[in-house]
Symmetry: C2
Subunit: 193 residues, 2 copies
């Protein structure tokens, strides 16, 4: 047991404050959005109302969308899931720079971020909106700082800006040690989408 | 767009092989298990059968356990969730070294890892079983290598052994940049459990 880990575990045991947390999942590795979806499951299981706003439109047939659409049947009026923005591609430089779509997504997100009934708000792949300057980071940080005190927020996407990292409570850098595509394996249903 | 990222995106576009993937979520940051639960949602949404074996027994009242217990009502006979092992504590050095419990969990996991009906098997917090030498890594690697070819496996936990990283297809090191407990915030329901 390293000294550092020992310190960390003592800090966990000593922590007593209860409040909403801003969590940022960034980095180039796999897990940023799937960890957010795992937290959606966790929050619903704790009886919370949850909103998910996806800032970059992916394929419509993802497993997560199908799953949560079905799961809403047993969690009525608890989960609100929005796929906004424009088309998705790994060739990110070719994304349509649709400021209007990002703006509409943010207006939607802002409403959830001012509603204390929502215990969790997920802003999936939002960091790209800063990268391409679709949104003003300062405006987003202002709204985050004024949100209901017990509300958790999860923001995902590569290359989170430093000011967002500074403002967040918990930040995980998901580092890719290796990835199956490097061995020629394509994105697999049930694992990657 | 960096040259490295450009290469990575081209590699993704070029990948054509379809097969089961072994994914390892390791590191000290938040997201290892929640990313696994997100993949559970994704796989269920793709119509797969899913088994989850948790190797370290946590609190019984987690949001994820409550959520997936309810969600099974709309995914009958698709999700098998086992909480095995002994008591959980951040003071890991005090965990009961219950070889028998780890062995029983592994026997259960092994059955799923030989059943091609299961598209995803999650071995949550399994790395601790290697750390404390409850299980033989070589035996686990052998079973993983002989599993059904289309089956995905997600293994989570801190400090994944190098041989497991070598054998895996995709490995994410979840690095803690900062964590809310460092600012005195306790583990929060809906976010952390």
């Amino acid at each position: 047991m390293s000294r550092k880990k020992d310190f960390v575990d003592k800090a966990i045991a000593a922590a007593q404050e209860e409040r909403g947390v801003v969590l940022v999942n960034t980095g180039n590795g796999k897990g940023k959005s799937s960890a957010a979806f795992g937290v959606v499951a966790r929050a619903l299981g704790q009886g919370m109302k949850v909103a998910v706003v996806q800032f970059v439109k992916g394929r419509a047939d993802t497993g997560e969308a199908a799953f949560f659409r079905e799961a809403r049947k047993v969690f009525p009026d608890k989960l609100f899931w929005h796929i906004t923005g424009e088309g998705y591609t790994w060739e990110i430089q070719n994304l349509p720079r649709d400021v209007a779509a990002a703006r509409a997504a943010w207006d939607l997100a802002s409403r959830y971020l001012s509603d204390p009934e929502f215990g969790l708000v997920v802003l999936d792949e939002m960091t790209y909106a800063f990268k391409f300057q679709w949104l003003e980071l300062s405006e987003v940080l202002e709204v985050l700082s004024r949100r209901p005190p017990m509300q958790h927020v999860v923001i995902t996407g590569r290359a989170a800006p430093q000011e967002l990292v500074d403002a967040a409570d918990t930040v995980t850098d998901m580092v890719s040690v290796k990835h199956a595509f490097q061995a020629g394996v394509k994105a697999m249903p049930g694992l990657d989408w």
